[in-house]
Amino acid sequence: MKRAGSILIPRPHREDDFFIGWAKPPAVDRRFLLGAVPTIAAFSGGLGWLVANELADPGAGSWQTSSTHTVTGQLVRDPYPMIRSVDPNGNYKTTLVVAMGKCTSSLELAMAAGGVHTGTGVLIERRGRHMLEVPFDDAAWLSPAPTNVTIPDVVSEVVIESISLQGMIMDTKCFFGVMRPGRGKTHKACASLCIRGGIPPSFWAHTKDGREVVMLLTDENGNAVSTDILPFVAEAVEAEGSVVRSGDWLQFRVATSKYRLI
């Protein structure tokens, strides 16, 4: 558009140079579009490549939905459902138990807790740590174990009386492989929903030399955490509590008042 005195003169176009939706486009438009369409297509593909290629490593972990996994051991209900077994060398092996979906607190377990059972479900595995995903109904996944299996009781021992650690509260199910990545801001809502639903939280920290430490998170008395910790889930936090060894897992026992966002 050009200004001339008190009027505006629209940019001139040649006779065949005027696009109307319902008519055949003029040659110059057709030529332009013939060039533009492949260019935009290539641009779209290039952007798809660039954006996907820059994604960070989703992290270790797997959710082995195509097979079932069986584990025999003592069924423990607190602080979180788990099956504790012992290998031939006498080492404890903990398999956390979660329900399908995000509602583990509705698992029944009432009758079976304390006894030795065989559980069958879907294995979720991260760096040698195991979790079993099972249906809500006990009968659908628990069966009596062979009578000769005995599991010695675990003796918990305090490793560190009081320590302040920086790390992140993870919902262990997604973290161990159900969602990859199962961390970060975009996963925060899901993590908090899982923990609200009773999925065991873990505390994910790194030592000075970069080794990762994953500890089961409980309240200061070793019981399941309350929903008061939800605002701290999936954020960088500093927490102060005690570290307790219980079988092959470390527990980080923290009072709700001892979390701080950093």
Partner: protein, 352 residues
């Protein structure tokens, strides 16, 4: 021209246009998924798809918002303007898929209703990195939903053009919300510097082009509005109006009038198309009718009425010839009022 409503209006050009947009989106998503799955063995296809769809919807919306100013800069982009409505509805569908999948995957299967979880599950609102970015996405989604739902001409006519236009201007609000949705969500999770660069580039391009074209027009209008209002506004010498085309006269009140010449005849109508406010003065005379450059609606020059069977009406203006110049009466006639065209070379006496 829209006195009959069809569910969706398609013609060959629109079908080609639609195929092109869907193809661009499919190419983007397919390559995104392939690269994402190959990059890491543990990549989760559902999480990848959520991201592919979300970024794709943002990309499409960026394209849509660029078309407007680009078409003001070069006529070559006008064909892209023509079917922007289908483009918008398709973008909404991609956003819907992103919303549905993210809602199911991150908020479903849990102890709360997914929609409740959307509001409750991200609880550290006070800080920027903690800001519940999901809600911004939801707000933008609702705007796109409203726009898609009212995109049909039926709504344009029933809501009246200004209300419809205002509603559809909310797309800029939606775009702003999405930029923050991405900045407070994905950009906090993903650390690659490429992402902020891309988002800033997209946002900068959209706002920059709008600013440039907007300023250019504002400057023109401001200069012209300084010229005081007279009862009759001088337009141009008849032959300075290009044949089959128009010059545009901005009036002090902000309206614009298109003064068309078709051979020896000169007539004036409003510059605003009844359809979607397209700039009629940038159109042409085809078969004796003023033809809108946007979607080709037509109006007879002398009375502003669409040729039968259509019945759309636009305002006409009175003209007179004085000292070899065309003058315009700035008071609009009621839409559809017949006005004798000025005929070049005819004196006032001959006309009456």
């Amino acid at each position: 021209m829209g006195h009959q409503y069809q569910a969706i209006q398609w013609n060959k050009g629109k079908v080609q246009y639609d195929i092109a947009i869907v193809t661009f989106a499919v190419i983007y998503i397919a390559i995104f998924m392939a690269v994402g799955l190959m990059a890491f063995a543990t990549s989760d296809p559902i999480v990848l798809m959520i991201r592919a769809l979300g970024t794709c919807a943002f990309l499409l919306l960026t394209f849509i918002l660029l078309i407007g100013p680009l078409a003001r800069i070069s006529d070559r982009f006008k064909p892209m303007l023509y079917n922007r409505r289908h483009f918008g509805v398709f973008t909404f569908l991609v956003a819907l898929a992103h919303f549905g999948l993210a809602l199911t995957w991150y908020h479903g299967f849990g102890p709360l209703n997914p929609l409740v979880s959307l509001f409750l599950s991200n609880q550290s609102g006070g800080t920027f990195p903690g800001f519940p970015f999901e809600l911004l996405g939801l707000a933008a989604f609702i705007i796109l939903l409203l726009m898609a739902a009212t995109s049909h001409d039926f709504w344009l006519n029933n809501l009246s053009a200004p209300v419809w236009k205002a509603l559809h201007m909310l797309v800029y609000v939606a775009y702003g919300l999405l930029v923050i949705h991405i900045a407070a969500g994905a950009l906090v999770t993903e650390k690659s510097p490429v992402y902020p660069v891309l988002v800033i580039a997209a946002f900068g391009l959209v706002s920059g082009l709008h600013l440039i074209t907007g300023l250019r027009e504002a400057k023109n209008d401001a200069l012209l509005n300084k010229m005081e209002a007279k009862s009759w506004v001088s337009v141009a010498a008849p032959n300075d109006i290009p044949d089959k085309r128009a010059v545009i006269v901005p009036l002090p009140g902000g309206e614009r009038v298109a003064v068309f010449r078709d051979g020896k005849k000169i007539s004036a109508v409003t510059n605003v198309c009844r359809h979607q406010n397209g700039p009629l003065g940038e159109g042409r005379i085809i078969d004796g009718c003023v033809t809108c450059p946007w979607h080709g609606w037509q109006y007879r020059m002398e009375d502003g009425i669409s040729p039968p069977p259509f019945t759309e009406k636009i305002a006409t203006y009175n003209l007179k010839m004085m000292n070899g110049m065309v003058f315009l009466n700035p008071d609009a006639n009621a839409p559809g009022t017949y006005v004798d065209p000025l005929v070049i070379g005819q004196t006032a006496e001959q006309r009456s």
